[in-house]
């Protein structure tokens, strides 16, 4: 298997790291080499967060360079646009349409652009815009939007559905498993239409 590069981009507190963990554990189970990288520290206090997940036969670098992501998974629309240059030609964008104001917007220093979605759509690649928040609420908890996104990406990867389900059961706390499995399937369906 060629190396698959998944770039996850969002805001601190959105569960980007948990989503990464599901990807890495699925990849290990599929007997692939895998690396994941993120920078934490200052990213906590409401800052931008990106996580790089790479898996394949043999993976050296833990990071994805601009122009090399097979998938850009945006957890928020502005963060999706901010990382769009990382997408490879022929890559796929799947993003949650939700908006989270950066501190610069909240404090009136900057404005949240109103053309974010049109700019993403104009990238010329396959773009799936998902109501991640709505689907998460439907699954039973707004916080499961990250797993909705995992579900959406999963439908593009040649790995069996049952493997994803097993790993979601392992990675999430027992009482949250059912609603997250629901979130996973809602995400998986959302990109099939």
């Amino acid at each position: 298997m060629e190396t698959t590069n998944i770039l996850l981009a969002g805001v601190g507190g959105q569960g980007v790291l948990l989503a990464s963990q599901i990807f890495t554990s699925v990849a290990i189970e599929a007997d692939l080499d895998v690396k994941q990288s993120e920078v934490h520290g200052m990213s906590q206090r409401g800052g931008s967060v990106t996580s790089h997940v790479r898996f394949g036969q043999k993976v050296y670098s833990p990071t994805i360079d601009p122009g090399e992501a097979d998938f850009l998974i945006g957890f928020e629309r502005l963060e999706t646009l901010r990382n769009l240059h990382c997408l490879k030609k022929g890559g796929i964008v799947i993003y949650n349409k939700m908006r989270i104001n950066p501190s610069t917007v909240a404090s009136g220093v900057a404005e949240y652009p109103d053309d974010v979605e049109t700019r993403i759509a104009a990238c010329g690649e396959k773009v799936y815009a998902i109501d991640g928040l709505g689907l998460a609420v439907k699954a039973g908890n707004a916080r499961s939007a990250n797993v909705v996104m995992v579900g959406a990406v999963s439908s593009f990867l040649p790995l069996p559905e049952s493997l994803w389900e097993t790993k979601i059961r392992e990675v999430l706390p027992a009482k949250l498993v059912d609603l997250n499995l629901k979130a996973f399937h809602l995400g998986r369906e959302a990109v099939k239409k």
Partner: protein, 584 residues
């Protein structure tokens, strides 16, 4: 049973490696990207582990443990080694009994640091070996090798990671724990461990001999590895740069230096002779390059191609060497940044709102409160290193012409963890030397910026046990400060009044702010609401920089809304509102 494997970050792997190699004691002061090492070590109950108030103390605790005979791990971020440098350089003379590994987590590109110093230089200056892992498996395995080397050569071992090795996850094959043989029994060995000039003079030649032996060892060490391939290009690299080279140029020959000091001279000569063109790819300083050039070896490309600043990547290496790269899309322009900010409910917000209003010079320190420098607050005017706020404020106070103008007055701001780290001696100096400055100690009962670790004032240890909490006002008084004032950081009038009084005072005032971190202690009050009728959309409340607030426009009317899921009900925004539009 198949070999057990796990996906671990470099930091988790170092903790695992310490446990497997029989480490008995681990000490550290938190600092990104090193913090998670001890946070993971604490889960291995075979290891006694603790947070020290600063890196010097952490290393000294480690020295005690190592000279008593126990295997020891000490960890810190790169700038922490500056603080611990004093014991480190003399520890090089005394050597150890139980192995001692000092992890220095460097931060090229300064993801969360104030500088990007290359700490391999410490190994060379202190004349001790430097080991650099390139992935999590090596992070784990090299800890055991480092401890063996430490004991075999009677030296501390410097273990350098970078953000990308510390924070990247990769697959690691796990092993069991090997305990050290026998009990730890204290023995006296005065000439080895008491560094008087007379004994140190006897130790220094041993350090030089040790270095020669380490050089010899470097030639055959499993830490250094040659991978011959196409020999038209040969790359010497270390740590994460090895991964970038392998990814970018799988066909080239590589000399990977896992022991980056002292260098294996013969091995390097041999490699250089076998390849047509020699490249050196190392982030940071030309540490290898200078030494290799000094050996008279021709280096075709080093720092001319791979800069001194920032971090590299696979695509960057490829681009520099071959000129090739993927088709790049334009980076989206004109997007608002998303910098970190004070959390909703943070006790630092009200303080900085008033400091800004008073227009004083704020001598800052390192912690969450450093975010007070960012717009729209923009009210922190200097920050150099941990503990410097009060001492710099004192220096400023001594030379600036006396004036009633607040812009000519200085207020130093420091957090609890930073005060314990190195602010106490600064305050002692200020009071001893009759400073007239004002110092604010923002005691949020945690080491916030690095993720909320315990500290000597938080009442708990690393392992979560209850501990004595240092009493900051009592400490300050004991140093001789007469004016110790407490304020409520959620009452803007209280802050303003007391700060003004302190600024008028000709003697030093220390303001202590006791308010636990809302993030660490999950503190929240019912969210506030904006009365859209009263709100004029003046944006005054937005100036307190809270992510829970935002401006909305409906039917041409502007008004602020508060996100009830984010608001912690602290009331700072309500107090700056001139129209009484914010309430419960």
């Amino acid at each position: 049973m198949s070999e057990q494997k796990a996906i671990l970050s470099g930091n988790e792997a170092i903790a695992r490696g310490a446990w497997e190699a029989g480490v008995k004691l681990a000490s550290a002061y938190p600092g990104t990207p090193s913090t998670e090492i001890l946070e993971n070590v604490k889960n291995y109950t075979d290891i006694y582990s603790e947070w020290a108030p600063n890196e010097k103390v952490a290393l000294e605790v480690g020295v005690g443990s190592a000279i008593a005979g126990a295997r020891t791990l000490v960890t810190m971020k790169h700038v922490g080694v500056n603080v611990a440098a004093d014991p480190l350089f003399t520890l090089s003379y005394t050597g150890v009994k139980g192995g001692l590994v000092l992890v220095s987590a460097d931060d090229p590109a300064m993801h969360s640091s104030q500088n990007e110093q290359d700490n391999r230089n410490y190994g060379r200056s202190a004349k001790i070996p430097v080991i650099e892992p390139s992935d999590s498996q090596e992070c784990k395995d090299f800890v055991a090798i480092a401890l063996d080397l430490s004991e075999k050569f009677d030296t501390p071992v410097f273990f350098r990671t970078t953000t990308r090795t510390s924070h990247s996850k990769s697959i690691v094959a796990l092993g069991g724990r090997t305990e050290q043989q026998g009990d730890i029994e204290l023995e006296k060995n005065m000439p080895k461990y008491t560094m008087l000039p007379s004994s140190a003079r006897l130790r220094h030649p041993l350090v030089e001999e040790r270095l020669l032996k380490l050089k010899e060892y470097a030639e055959t060490s499993p830490l250094n590895r040659v991978e011959y391939n196409d020999t038209s290009m040969g790359f010497i690299c270390n740590g994460i740069s090895y991964q970038y080279v392998k990814e970018a140029l799988p066909e080239v020959s590589v000399l990977k230096l896992g022991l980056s000091y002292p260098l294996p001279e013969k091995k390097i000569r041999e490699f250089a002779a076998r390849v047509d063109k020699l490249y050196i790819v190392e982030e940071g300083d030309p540490f290898f390059e200078d030494q290799i050039r000094a050996l008279g070896i021709k280096v075709d490309h080093g720092k001319d191609m791979f800069p001194l600043t920032g971090e590299f990547s696979a695509a960057f290496v490829k681009k520099q060497v071959t000129g090739q790269g993927p088709d790049l899309r334009a980076v989206a322009e004109g997007l608002p940044g998303r910098p970190p900010a004070f959390c909703p409910g943070c006790s630092h917000r009200g303080i900085f709102t008033i400091l800004k209003k008073l227009k004083v010079f704020v001598s800052g320190d390192i912690g969450c409160y450093t975010l007070g420098a960012l717009p729209p607050i923009s009210a922190l005017h200097s920050c150099v290193c941990m503990g410097a706020s009060i001492s710099m404020g004192h220096g400023i106070d001594k030379v600036v012409a006396k004036s009633d103008d607040y812009s000519q007055k200085v207020v130093s701001v420091i957090g609890d963890s930073t005060f314990f780290h190195s602010g106490m001696t600064s305050l002692l100096n200020s009071i001893y030397n009759k400073s007239a400055s004002v110092a604010m100690i923002l005691d949020n009962r945690t080491t916030g910026m690095t993720g909320g670790q315990e500290n000597p004032g938080s009442g708990r240890t690393l392992s979560g046990e209850e501990a004595i909490a240092a009493d900051i006002p009592a400490l300050v008084k004991a140093m001789g400060v007469k004016n110790v004032v407490k304020i409520n950081p959620y009452d803007l009038n209280d802050i303003e009044e007391k700060l003004k009084a302190a600024l008028e005072n000709e003697e030093m005032t220390v303001v202590v702010v006791e308010a636990p971190c809302v993030l660490r202690y999950r503190i929240s009050k019912p969210p506030l609401k904006v009365d859209a009728e009263k709100c004029t959309g003046c944006k005054r409340c937005l100036s307190v920089s809270c992510n829970a607030l935002s401006l909305e426009v409906k039917d041409d009317k502007k008004f602020v809304v508060i996100d009830p899921n984010m608001c912690a009900g602290c009331g700072v925004c309500a107090q700056v509102c001139k129209f009484d539009a914010i309430g419960e």
